[in-house]
Symmetry: C2
Subunit: 361 residues, 2 copies
DNA sequence: CTGAAAGCGCTTACAG
DNA sequence: CTGAAAGCGCTTACAG
């Protein structure tokens, strides 16, 4: 029913191979022959059957993207950009959600997703480098996204977690904050985004001569509700603090929501900072100070790296590691200068018993 | 290199067809034969080549999803759910972004997306029913999402736009609001989400005996920044209002951000309501009153309808139309009772000159 | 520069 | 219940 290459060949009076040559931009074709073929294609409305091409050539021009949950704003924004960047090189992106479970991450690596695609952009959250190396079958390219893995065996595109968290912490310290709670990590975390960002926090504290207090490090699921309940626990525990650093924006926004609900003023009683600079951060009330981790650069570099591996133009023997540049976005939730925000009031540490809220958005 | 059906057939001592029969759950196979085949599959680690299956059978077990922009929270949350629902029926979802341009919507309908998938979930924003009917090639099933199209030729899954907007407006009126600004529509809008939601708003006003004032209807791009700038124009125009109904949550959240920035108290000076109930709405400050449009139901019904069309179990001659049930989510930005919020202050209409902001989150 | 043939790995009539 | 053969629509060596 659909028009095939055979129909085109017949209409143009050439062989199948010649049509294929034209479609694949083979260079040594007589202009007249090429034109005959192009005319026939246009006249018949021929479109190549991608499935047949894929079966024969072994290439699908699809990239797989594995994230835990596409409804997480950071992943949604990343996926959207990845699709746009990939489309510019004539690739599609096929997304798979892992729900951050071991079984699903293994399936993503071994199952039909990798069969359907030419390579994978993988954000592992539970599998470690050895598990991934062991699970991997075949030789299709694999680029790691995020910071859970840091291993010379793998190509990897990340953000400057340590440096960015350090810069943000330094910003809060410069604003006069001394008891900065961290939401989304455990004191002992070493690897992955939580551990790296916590390390940056500690470096900044050390340079400023501020003691590290493990009581200020509050574990939480990296979602808005996780941030909210972490702050609730912090306030209920009576631990004084004058700033909250959510290790991603969802945590920070959830934290800010709970603070305001409890009557803690932001930024007067407690500054709030996040990490990711999702679109929502600009429009929260107060707007959220956060780290812009260079998402555009991440999207471009990882698609480019993966396609270069697929097409063989990137030949490095060991893993290529790319780190995107970050920027701080200073907004109302944690302004540069604490004093200028509060000409008359002065500062008081936040607590569960803070008075009626008053917010400067 | 990969294990093929032929290898399995040889190992099991049966023909290719028998292996195929086992894989496709053909019922009349001797248990012993089936077991031999299953053993061989397990031993060799055979996995069916989906591309070959797709080429031969003409079915890919992929659904196409066309939205304007996957980074829009509503679409991200919808896509995430669609994937989960589809996966339960052993289908994948391939997403394409149209950027709400005519050219891209046509491409999505005619191009390689429809070739790669067994059917399309399509959210048209610029194409109308006739254009879609004309552009459509072949006979692959197509289910419309959203309200831009309402045409008996097409299957369609929508929300109760009119009823939900009417209920929300009635809620605002019941709270004592009389000058309710609408963000995201033009006074003349008739069709699509803006027109339908505006119609619900007008019905509620009429039933309450409140006059419709076109000066309160403010057009805007359906994004956070659109909501913010629409409110800025409204305030700058000096038009008094005591509530803002953003026709989606992004608009409402952007509007709320701008109100608070200008010192307009929410909900004291102006209540704010939205539409969609994205996750963010629960965690804004104040939390956002909005319409939950039944996204789970929408996701389930549209995937089910599309797959039933693909597999032939849905045989209706004309378009099947499904409307999901909605619920109001009453939160702090527009509580049920205005007076209880303000025991001592009373009400004053918002204006650009409103005094220093004070927010009850 | 172009053609005739083989084959990617399945499913699908068609026999038996 | 199972087998041998054809064919989905391409690309890829191999000739010439």
């Amino acid at each position: 029913m659909a028009v095939t290459m055979n129909d085109v060949a017949r209409a143009a009076g050439v062989s199948l191979k010649t049509v294929s040559n034209v479609l694949n931009n083979y260079e040594f074709i007589k202009p007249a022959t090429r034109q005959k073929v192009l005319d026939a294609i246009a006249e018949l409305g021929y479109e190549a059957n991608l499935t047949a091409r894929s079966l024969r050539s072994g290439k699908s021009r699809m990239l797989g993207l594995v994230v835990s949950d596409l409804s997480v704003p950071y992943y949604a924004e990343l996926a959207s950009r990845l699709m746009t960047v990939a489309a510019a090189r004539d690739y599609r992106v096929l997304v798979e959600q892992s729900a951050a479970t071991r079984a699903n991450e293994l399936t993503a690596l071994q199952g039909s997703l990798s069969q359907l695609t030419d390579g994978l952009l993988f954000t592992p959250l539970v599998l470690d480098a050895d598990a991934i190396a062991a699970a991997r079958r075949g030789t299709k390219p694999l680029v790691m996204l995020g910071e859970h893995i840091d291993d010379p065996r793998f190509d990897q595109v990340t953000m400057k977690n340590v440096g960015a968290a350090k810069a943000m912490t330094a910003h809060l310290l410069a604003g006069g904050r001394r008891r900065i709670a961290v939401i989304g990590a455990s004191p002992g975390d070493g690897a992955g985004s939580p551990g790296l960002r916590l390390a940056g926090y500690r470096e900044a504290l050390a340079e400023a001569g501020v003691a590290f207090d493990p009581a200020l490090i509050v574990p939480a699921e990296w979602r808005r509700d996780g941030g909210a309940s972490a702050v609730a626990r912090l306030l209920d525990g009576g631990q004084p603090f004058d700033a909250v650093f959510g290790l991603n924006d969802a945590l920070a926004l959830g934290a800010m929501h709970e603070l305001l609900l409890r009557g803690v003023r932001v930024p007067e009683d407690a500054a709030v900072a996040g990490f990711d600079d999702i679109d929502e951060a600009r429009f929260s009330s107060p707007s959220l100070t956060t780290v812009a981790p260079g998402m555009n650069e991440i999207a471009e570099r990882c698609v480019q790296l993966l396609i270069d591996r697929i097409e063989g133009s990137e030949k490095a023997d060991s893993g290529v590691h790319v780190e995107a540049q970050f920027e701080l976005r200073i907004r109302a939730s944690a302004p540069a200068d604490r004093v200028s925000q509060l000409p008359q009031t002065g500062t008081s540490p936040a607590s569960a018993s803070a008075a009626e809220g008053k917010v400067d958005p």
